[in-house]
């Protein structure tokens, strides 16, 4: 079997849904990630949907999705014996990932400064709604709250309705990636210098890092851009980017100049061939065409004509015809469509993982990126509650079976 980029390193993952993705990424890169759950299991195992619609902490599809390749042990961090066990574990690992409220780990005597005494090389990555310090550090958050406070929510949705959230937990996903990036950068430094550190990730700030376009418009011109439905503001102008067709929606966007010339010309030709009214005909030189430079009225006329064309076709027809004519029309795919994508299949993007306890096999995304020398793949389904207690506590740490039984009885593990 080929190596993974970070094979041989280990992490303890104490996160809830706010931080699952960070450990999932590290696990795909070969880090041995051990999920530390409270006895009875992580409350996030209650997040729907469930396998066969049966609510059960062992059947949360949400939990499955973001905890692949991890191991699971149970441990009560609120009692002294549990804290002692945790410190012993910290001696044996390279990373601790957590998403408790800022200061909570400290209150248990397990903050970064305390863990550093146990293992000076430890990297502790903390993912919180607003960060470890500052006036909002104790504020509670969620995906929606981070989107609101990060300046993205106001830019999403139809102008005549309240702002609306994006995708599923798109903010948690982005923050998980930001956290994994901070973690591997700290790791690189640690491997050279021997020095560990804490990485402090804020969901709000991660969200705010997407607002550059609008920030500069406010800072330089004191203009505020808000939500605009199916129209997207690009530079000084807004363009429609989401179009209705016969049976759904597609994405298409004007691109100026040389880069967009071929596709813009091909689109105009198609409108002509279909015998529709075609204001795009007035463009004499597509190579120099800039949709931001024509009048608003002209642009509206262009877009109306393009909208009429798209409405005459189904999603699949537009995509296939677009490919033939070299017009970049993209279908807006639903989850079922994504699973059927030719592109993803051709790149061997999917992997079937067995869930023997329920007799199911489910298909998951297999990787975050490809590389030629290593395999950084998703390989194993998410763990059951405490599935690896025996492996970690007894086989590795050498707890006697009596100790282990006592710990179980007293609710430590």
């Amino acid at each position: 079997m080929a190596d993974s980029l970070l094979g041989g390193f280990r992490a303890l993952d104490l996160t809830d849904e706010k931080g699952f993705v960070c450990g999932k990424i590290l696990a795909a890169l070969g880090v041995e990630v051990i999920k530390v759950e409270r006895p009875g299991g992580d409350p996030a195992r209650g997040i729907p949907p469930f396998l066969h619609n049966t609510p059960d902490p062992e059947k949360s599809l949400y939990w499955f999705a973001f905890n692949t390749d991890k191991q699971s042990i149970t441990l009560n961090l609120q009692v002294n014996q549990g804290q002692d066990l945790f410190r012993k574990l910290v001696e044996k690992v390279d990373f601790v990932l957590e998403s408790f409220a800022a200061g909570y780990m400290n209150s248990l005597g397990l903050g970064y400064e305390a863990l550093k005494l146990v293992n000076p090389r430890i990297i502790m990555t903390s993912i919180t709604p607003f960060g470890q310090k500052g006036p909002y550090a104790q504020y509670k958050g969620s995906d929606l709250i981070a989107s609101a406070m990060g300046g993205v929510l106001l830019t999403t949705g139809d102008p005549d309705r309240p702002p609306v959230r994006e995708g599923l937990d798109s903010i948690y996903f982005h923050a998980g990636a930001a956290a994994a990036l901070g973690t591997v950068i700290a790791h690189y430094h640690r491997e050279i210098s021997g020095e560990g550190q804490q990485v402090d990730v804020s969901l709000q700030e991660t969200t705010a890092s997407r607002t550059s376009t609008n920030l500069v418009i406010w800072e330089f011109d004191k203009r505020l851009l808000k939500r605009s439905g199916n129209v997207r503001v690009l530079g000084a102008r807004s363009f429609q980017w989401i179009w209705q067709c016969k049976d759904g929606y597609v994405h298409w966007q004007y691109i100026r100049g040389q880069v967009g010339a071929a596709t813009n010309r091909a689109l105009s030709k198609w409108i002509d061939e279909d015998g529709l009214e075609n204001p795009l005909n007035k463009v004499t030189n597509w190579e120099e065409f800039d949709p931001a430079a024509i009048s608003r009225e002209e642009l509206d006329a262009h877009q109306e004509s393009i909208a009429r064309l798209f409405l005459n076709y189904a999603k699949k027809e537009l995509t296939e015809e677009g490919l033939k004519r070299e017009i970049d029309i993209t279908p807006i795919d639903c989850p079922a469509d994504v699973l059927e994508s030719h592109q993803l299949k051709a790149r061997d993007y999917w992997v079937d993982l067995e869930h023997p306890e329920s007799g199911s096999t489910l298909t998951y995304p297999k990787y975050f990126f490809l590389s030629n020398q290593t395999e950084n793949f998703v390989k194993r389904r998410a763990p059951l509650i405490g599935e690896h207690n025996e492996d970690i506590y007894v086989k590795e740490m050498g707890l006697s079976s009596t100790e282990s039984t006592t710990f179980k009885k007293t609710g430590v593990i």
């Binding site: 970070l6 990424i25 890169l29 209650g46 066969h52 960060g131 500052g134 909002y136 929606l144 709250i145 406070m149 999403t156 949705g157 309240p162 702002p163 609306v164 959230r165 994006e166 599923l168 798109s170 996903f173 982005h174 923050a175 930001a178 956290a179 994994a180 591997v184 950068i185 690189y188 430094h189 210098s193 550190q197 402090d200 990730v201 890092s209 550059s212 500069v216 406010w218 800072e219 939500r227 997207r232 530079g235 980017w241 966007q253 596709t263 639903c334 989850p335 469509d337 994504v338 592109q343 790149r347 489910l362 298909t363 998951y364 995304p365 975050f368 990126f369 490809l370 590389s371 020398q373």
Partner: protein, 405 residues
């Protein structure tokens, strides 16, 4: 200056637009020496974008948008299509640990500077190419933008209201998320090289990265044949979970109540009005069943307050709530982002002082140190003579030949 985490790492950065540029910024802000290679013969989209009124059509250096994605880099002008470009590129490859690029697939190869070539110059080189579709597959040759990734990864289909078509944010998602992954791959590959001596070629796709985000919906379809779609601001396991109108023009506060404890605290915070005691709101299930009425009643209360008041009242009792902030709020009113130095004011030689973004993940010991972005070709001579070891004569000759344009 304090030591930075990626000090000593050398990067040739052909990355452009948003996704490519940001990969290099992630590395540069943490201390890597990143040489951004550009050419006035094919300027970056963010070099001619006239988003703000002070940006001209002629000066590539008056674009604050470009700065946001290119802090802490060195700027080098180099026309990769010039017959003598190879003399410079060879030196860059020999110098570099990492090559970052996001040209359309095959372009670097066509230019003669693809992975195999770079490896022949520097056997342990790490090259990362990122793009919308990835480097292979039937659609690899298609042009794509941020919206393409949003359409094909399920993000757009799942955003919006149940009774309407999809909508997205005005702000990019895939263009910002993809570079985090490209940078993760690069830094992990640097560590792998340190241990094994081996280089790496990395192929990162926006669609593939972003598809992970909707994994629960994929599994829901596979296992339950339940097709998730747009659902406004509602989610299955919290209520109220939404955006509520407040005093002022287009002012809103988001409130999310997940647990029974939070529901009790919420009711108490709004003064325990009689409706909160009605059985139809007693449990999460009953609140979900009566969510229309619930949201109406919550809105009646929030409308009597400013968004800031609603947030403070809720947070004081431990209910997750947050103002739907404008970018003006982020810049001028948010004490938390200020505490984290979300933006640091830095002086740009053309545009003057304005806010430059710092990484949202803070390494508390090896702090990010952000410098302003380079003007086009600002460091060409420095890079050639100081970093690549060219003689002054050699540099001058290549200059006269027009290689550095």
């Amino acid at each position: 200056m304090e030591k930075q985490a990626l000090a000593g790492v050398k990067v040739v950065d052909f990355g452009w637009a948003l996704a490519g540029s940001l990969t290099g910024k992630h590395l540069a802000d943490q201390g890597a020496q990143v040489v951004r290679v550009e050419s006035s013969t094919r300027p970056d989209r963010t070099r001619f974008d006239r988003t703000v009124s002070m940006s001209s059509t002629t000066n590539p250096d008056d674009k604050p948008w470009f700065t946001h994605f290119n802090t802490s880099k060195y700027g080098m002008a180099l026309n990769l299509k010039h017959p003598r470009a190879r003399e410079v590129v060879d030196r860059l490859f020999r110098w570099a640990d990492v090559v970052n690029a996001n040209f359309s697939p095959g372009t670097l190869n066509k230019l003669g500077f693809g992975y195999e070539y770079s490896k022949s110059i520097k056997p342990d080189i790490i090259m990362a190419e990122s793009g919308v579709y990835g480097q292979t597959g039937p659609l690899a040759g298609q042009r794509g933008v941020d919206g393409t990734g949003a359409a094909l990864s399920g993000y757009l289909d799942l955003t919006g209201w149940p009774d309407r078509g999809p909508v997205g944010s005005n702000l990019p998602y895939g263009d910002i998320v993809l570079p985090s992954f490209t940078a993760i791959a690069i830094v992990a590959a640097l560590d792998y090289k340190r241990r094994t001596g081996e280089g790496q070629y990395i192929d990162a796709s926006m669609i593939e990265v972003c598809t992970h985000q909707i994994s629960p919906a994929l599994l829901d379809w596979e296992a339950n044949r339940h097709l998730q779609t747009r659902n406004g601001n509602r989610i299955a396991y919290a209520a109220p979970h939404g955006v509520f109108p407040c005093q002022g023009d287009d002012r809103w506060c988001a409130i999310t109540v997940f647990t029974d404890g939070e529901w009790e605290a919420f009711c108490h915070a709004i003064g325990d009005p009689p409706w909160t005691k009605e059985p139809r709101f007693a449990t999460l299930n009953s609140r979900k069943e009566n969510e229309d009425s619930l949201e109406e009643l919550v809105s009646k209360w929030t409308k009597q307050h400013s968004a800031e008041e609603v947030m403070q009242i809720m947070q004081a009792v431990g209910v997750p709530a947050g103002v739907v902030q404008t970018v003006q709020d982020l810049l001028e009113h948010d004490p938390q982002l200020k505490e984290r130095e979300f933006l640091v004011p830095l002086k740009h030689p053309v545009m003057g002082v304005f806010g430059h973004p710092t990484p949202p993940y803070k390494l508390l010991k090896t702090k990010a140190q952000v410098r302003t972005s380079p003007c086009l070709g600002e460091h060409t001579e420095y890079v050639c003579t100081q970093l690549l070891g060219m003689s002054d004569e050699e540099f001058a000759e290549l200059w006269r030949d027009g290689v550095f344009r």
